[in-house]
Symmetry: C2
Subunit: 273 residues, 2 copies
Amino acid sequence: MKKYKRNQRIGALMKIFTEKPNYVFSYNYFCEIFNAAKSTISEDMAIVKKLVSELGFGKIETISGATGGAVYIPVLSVEEKNQILSDLCDLFSQKNRILPGGFIYMTDIFNNPSIVSNIAKVIASEFNHVEIDYVVTVETKGIPVSIMTGQQLNVPVAVIRKNNKITEGATVSINYVSGSSNNIQTMSLSRRSLKENSRVLIVDDFMKGGGTCKGMADMMREFNAHVVGTAVVIETKEPEKKLVDDYISLLVLNNINMKDGIIEIQPNSKLLK
Amino acid sequence: MKKYKRNQRIGALMKIFTEKPNYVFSYNYFCEIFNAAKSTISEDMAIVKKLVSELGFGKIETISGATGGAVYIPVLSVEEKNQILSDLCDLFSQKNRILPGGFIYMTDIFNNPSIVSNIAKVIASEFNHVEIDYVVTVETKGIPVSIMTGQQLNVPVAVIRKNNKITEGATVSINYVSGSSNNIQTMSLSRRSLKENSRVLIVDDFMKGGGTCKGMADMMREFNAHVVGTAVVIETKEPEKKLVDDYISLLVLNNINMKDGIIEIQPNSKLLK
């Protein structure tokens, strides 16, 4: 069987860790794929640990003992978060995004994998010290961010539907008041999508009144799930009082000046401490 | 400014390449972040190239000249594809997935980032020799696979909506006949979501008659876009004749035996050559 050089093992370890953040790999797994002794892998791991820390990629945590392993936890620096959030503000505030009725066209941003992966890294970075079993979102625009946040945190995603679908099996439906339109709407979630007593992170693209996030929190009660965090990409400055209390937003939309076509949006300064 | 060891640079290069497959990084970018001479980066790159190839991760292509750079193109081996598709079949054929009406509960699979990322790698691996500008899908269940395929191919995603939304700006709507239900349905796509004359890869979760994929292809004509490929995760064996001709599927659903609760599904052998 083939043997690999240290350089090669280090490179391969970084690839494997990068693809599955927050996943615990056993030393035995690495011994097998590299055809190397555990002592060799331990030495490699010390190098990888140091490089991840020195290059500001986050941290590698090692679990000792017979079932020992290692896990890569990405952590963004304040500078990286600042860069990502500033770039996002530049994108969202492009003039041609204003739509009739004071809406902003955001779909292209929320469907661009390289942008969404940065958004997900910021959200995951805020919650990687919290025990989470699922990311929960409601269709449609928040799905990409949720999936990539789930990837970063190594947890599955539950997508609440706005209509009941025959392919979801038994569902739980609730009514909620959309904060922006004051309309009563329905959302449904498959009974199978969450285990009882789960710890969930609610993720959505946009929050104005907070009605949708409150609806999701209400839905979680029906599943005996515990909401351990709520993250939205953009919140509007007004109304200041939202229907949910405990949430983080990445960006704050201060104002849309329809006349001059100016969108005033800024990073949430609370995230940059 | 800090200097890094070769080991560290190799590890960091693999992290950077893994996070953005099919993205061309300039040598200058690496010189800057590692505070290293171009000759050093060239030597690093030779090592990375060899390691990527020897460990079966795909290939690194280098572009020479003043604007030189390097790009990581993941390629799965037949063994890896076989493993992923077999694991998927095991998942999809779990007994308790059969729903009333002969449907299969698949939502948890299509919303699980670690499973979806494997599906996306298989699709991307089939199309990484094709020039593609966008991945196109229709909401909802195909979105995660599409986003991750877009990430692998380094292209944005356009999500066709089943309802017209005020946040999409001007849209194009078409009617299509859903192959499975024979109902006429409407799909809409924002005018802004695709540039004219784009080359698109259509991705969806499930194909029975092919009506939805045909609808998406019809929609693409309205955008003067050229469909260069169509990929679905699961196709049903019957009807053998679909409404679209040129597509790949990862899995073929042969039969659902409602009485005994058995789902017969297998990897598409065409992909494993």
